[in-house]
């Protein structure tokens, strides 16, 4: 595993571009007032190890910042983490905002602990897909799952 000497919260160094093709880029962070940064940190290291360039925004990130970072980095995907239960409000128009910003082609993934009350997962999933996310993950989804999904969605594997 590559072990960046940077601090645990800032964006890591760009991993060497993969030999063939452009290195895929993701923007990653925890949305809204949400301070939970550990889960996204785990994702960040796993995606870097898997060969992605990760623009890591840390926690307490306004939706707009995800969008501007995705534009700047020409990201292939935005991965949003929401842990603190306010995702229902924070994420309500995220898909629309991305489209408005011309990011309609960017994959939108969401994970964490999305709602405050115990809820049947398919309902939660449907709710957030309705907000424009391509994939929505239940609590404690492993980084590997998202990596393999994203590789598939970006046509990097089948």
């Amino acid at each position: 595993m590559n072990s960046p000497e940077s601090s645990m919260k800032q964006s890591g160094e760009v991993a060497a571009a993969r030999p063939s093709g452009r290195q895929p880029v993701i923007v990653l962070g925890t949305i809204g007032h949400d301070a939970h940064i550990v889960g996204s940190s785990v994702l960040r290291f796993a995606f870097e190890e898997a060969g992605f360039r990760v623009v890591f925004l840390g926690a307490v990130v306004p939706p707009e910042e995800f969008i501007s970072a995705a534009k700047e980095s020409a990201a292939d995907a935005i991965l949003v983490s929401s842990m603190y239960g306010m995702g229902r409000i924070d994420c309500a128009d995220f898909g629309d905002k991305c489209k408005e910003a011309g990011l309609g082609h960017v994959k939108l993934y969401l994970g964490g602990i999305l709602v405050t009350d115990p809820e049947h997962w398919p309902e939660t999933e449907a709710l957030f897909k309705g907000y424009g996310f391509d994939r929505v993950y239940p609590p404690q989804t492993k980084a590997e799952t998202a990596i393999s999904d994203l590789k598939k969605d970006l046509g990097l594997s089948s």
């Binding site: 645990m8 919260k9 301070a35 550990v38 306010m86 602990i113 405050t116 009350d117 115990p118 404690q140």
Partner: protein
């Protein structure tokens, strides 16, 4: 970041407090309920009509005398009725206090958004909020919650600016709540000025002290609710600073609560060191009359989704707390990993932890060479950081604490706070104790650094690997991984 306000560790003038207060009560319309200058006296009168068991402070004293370990669950939903129902659901289990978490909007002083979410919650019949909106429901709400139970009600509202919520808590008859003067930004903030945050907490301390001076013994809880992956010595230092800052404002009753790391010896050592040094520093400040109590806060790290694993982890946290002989524990529920805790969940948590307390009763971890070594090392660590804080503050812990956070003298791994150095790296040793792999810019004595290194080296030898970020990442999900999946991967 510093805003440059004048920050000192000395008690505020009451007039200064009152001038600040006029701004605070104007932050949101419900503030009208308490804007009159008489409102404080009225609140004090309400408190005084309460029986002794409504006071967390007096409960502490009684429980300590009886050698009884207190148990405190948490609660907080968008509506008063939801919150009251949740509390009532466990009233027969007689928790000593309820720990009311406020919602994120209230914490972030976004009172309009909180009100909006209350309206939506009422319309939809569920909770849009991850906590109880103390400001939106004002004094009537706080009193309704308070009067729903025999337990002592307290608040954990402590984000950047918790002044208005605290006004409602005290007006509502709540008798205790959390201090986060040092740790707050490290935990929840991106870029708030650290001196202003401490200043806001001084406001709350001054208010609590005023109640106490007037015969209403309000208790403040120095939380060190920092993530479960943090160094214990760091947490002890943070809590100690918070204790001193509160005492300086005149607070007389303080919980020393410590987030459990889950290594029994290290947790017990930390609890003992925090108690010893708090007493020592308080006495040096002339605060011999400040009463302190030892508490734990359950592991603030990864909890498993699987219910059996979850029960085991809850029980272990309770066992560590009881074996440490602390006065009480802030527990979690089996819902921890999946939702905002439910009423049924906390009932189960109370049963799990209550049974542990019953079984352990007066059993304590006996002193031993291993324990005393751990304690000595931690004491060296804390004293050394405290010395630096005082130097940084030119003899003042308030501004020193602020500068310590910015300069890396106080530092930790996972934080959203932009101005924290975040150069520290902490890993677990073969016993699960937390050790500095990299102490960044923290002023640790060499002996301590060597001690931590040697413990890490033991695990390196045992596992035949090298400590590094890969350990940290793996440990982020150490406790929560599914046992079945782990076994499948091993085989």
């Amino acid at each position: 970041m510093l805003s440059g306000i004048d920050l000192r560790m000395k008690q505020w003038d009451w007039d200064y407090f009152l001038s600040e207060r006029r701004k605070v009560v104007g932050l949101w319309p419900t503030g009208k309920q308490i804007e009159s200058p008489d409102s404080i006296a009225e609140a004090i009168a309400y408190h005084k009509a309460q029986p002794a068991w409504k006071y967390a402070s007096l409960r502490n004293e009684k429980a300590e005398k009886e050698g009884r370990i207190q148990i405190v669950p948490q609660v907080g939903h968008a509506l008063v009725e939801q919150t009251v129902d949740h509390i009532k659901h466990s009233e027969d289990l007689s928790p000593d206090r309820w720990y009311v978490l406020t919602d994120t909007y209230t914490r972030k002083s976004e009172y309009a958004k909180a009100q909006d979410a209350v309206d939506r919650s009422r319309a939809k019949g569920f909770s849009y909020l991850n906590g109880y909106p103390l400001v939106a429901h004002g004094v009537p709400g706080a009193r309704a919650v308070n009067e729903a139970t025999r337990a002592a009600i307290g608040t954990d509202n402590n984000d950047e600016d918790a002044r208005l919520p605290w006004e409602f808590a005290l007006a509502g008859g709540w008798t205790w709540g959390t201090i986060k003067s040092i740790e707050e930004l490290i935990q929840h903030s991106r870029d708030y000025p650290v001196d202003k945050n401490i200043h806001n907490q001084q406001y709350i301390d001054r208010l609590a002290a005023h109640f106490t001076e007037n015969g209403v013994p309000i208790l403040r809880r120095a939380s060190a609710n920092l993530p479960g992956w943090d160094s214990l010595g760091f947490k002890v230092t943070v809590a100690l600073l918070e204790v001193l800052l509160s005492a300086a404002q005149g607070v007389k009753w303080i919980d020393l609560s410590l987030g459990i790391g889950m290594n029994l010896l290290q947790d017990v050592a930390a609890i003992q060191v925090l108690r010893k040094l708090s007493r020592e520093y308080l006495d040096q400040m002339g605060c011999n009359d400040v009463k302190i109590f030892s508490w734990t806060y359950f592991f603030l790290g990864d909890w498993p989704l699987e219910r059996g694993q979850m029960s085991g982890q809850l029980a272990w946290n309770a066992a560590v707390s009881a074996l440490a002989g602390c006065n009480g524990m802030f527990i979690k529920s089996p819902d921890e990993a999946s939702t905002t805790p439910t009423a049924a969940g906390f009932r189960e948590g109370l049963h799990i932890c209550g049974q542990i307390v019953r079984l352990i009763a007066d059993q304590r971890l006996p002193d031993s060479e291993d324990l005393s070594l751990e304690r000595n090392m931690m004491e060296l660590e804390v004293r050394s950081i405290m010395k630096r804080v005082l130097e940084l503050g030119d003899g003042d812990f308030a501004i020193g604490g602020a500068r310590a956070i910015l300069s890396g003298a106080l530092d930790t791994m996972f934080s959203p706070y932009k101005f924290l150095k975040s150069k520290v790296k902490v890993v677990r040793d073969r016993n699960g104790a937390l050790r500095y792999l990299d102490h960044g810019l923290m002023p640790l004595p060499n002996e301590v650094i060597e001690y931590h290194r040697s413990r890490i080296a033991e695990r390196e030898r045992k596992e035949n690997t090298t400590a590094g970020v890969n350990w940290i990442i793996r440990e982020a999900t150490w406790a929560s991984r599914s046992l079945a999946e782990e076994i499948a991967a091993r085989e």
